[in-house]
Symmetry: C2
């Protein structure tokens, strides 16, 4: 259980959760700093997806710390982690892609103002997707092999 980097309850697992929280919160900050993201469905969706991912990753980071302090094994919860990570990863990829599609369209039609902020938010959302996808793959591996 403790062999694979990124396993829950290890330092590498906690680092992965920290990266997810960091990217998701930075993405929310960039989105929220634009003047009128609330007008566009996709950017609202991106904000909701990133908030969901932030909450999920933060809860799991707390669980990792708890497990490291109390030396408890989180093996019984791997099924829950795997399902949650997969769903969050799918949600994040869908949100990032749809926002990217709309932002490209804005660029073609001549961009007004907040385009760089939207781009940064989408880049960070993709980064957070890469980290959550890594977690999801590790959890799935642990679920089946362990």
């Amino acid at each position: 259980m403790k062999d694979l980097p990124g396993t829950p309850g290890t330092l590498s697992g906690l680092f992965l959760r920290f990266l997810q929280c960091l990217f998701a919160s930075l993405s929310i900050m960039y989105i929220a700093s634009t003047a009128n993201f609330i007008r566009y469905t996709v950017y609202r969706y991106l904000a909701v997806a990133m908030s969901f991912q932030l909450l999920w990753s933060l809860s799991l980071a707390c669980l990792d710390v708890y497990s490291m302090v109390t030396k408890n094994c989180l093996h019984d919860l791997v099924r829950l982690f795997a399902t949650g990570d997969w769903l969050t990863a799918l949600l994040s990829l869908a949100a990032s892609s749809s926002s990217a599609g709309v932002t490209i369209l804005f660029y073609i039609g001549g961009c007004s103002g907040d385009c760089t902020k939207y781009q940064m938010a989408i880049f960070l959302a993709f980064m957070s997707w890469i980290t959550i996808e890594t977690s999801a793959l590790i959890m799935f591996w642990l679920l089946i092999s362990g």
Copy 2:
């Protein structure tokens, strides 16, 4: 190896590949039947992603038929199938989501003409994503358990 429904070289596996080909080709048909999909980056991307999925699923359907006829076991190729299925599934989800984001924006801005066709193409792309994601999960399961 032959226990799980959807395993390569079985009738259920072939049926899953057939569904993927069907949805992907219908989606391409709908996209191609619109007047000016070539003007929009996301719809071009959707067409490319669906073509890629069609080619991949068709090749694997042929392999399934070959395996059923010659009674050859495809166990050695599961690693390749799992990787290919995952990549195709990610590509399809990203393409469907980005197209859906742009189409929602078109609806808000008042839709001109081909919107229903775009909607149908995206619906079919999502259906094909669901079937390829199912295949990918089965392959991953087989890869680790077998």
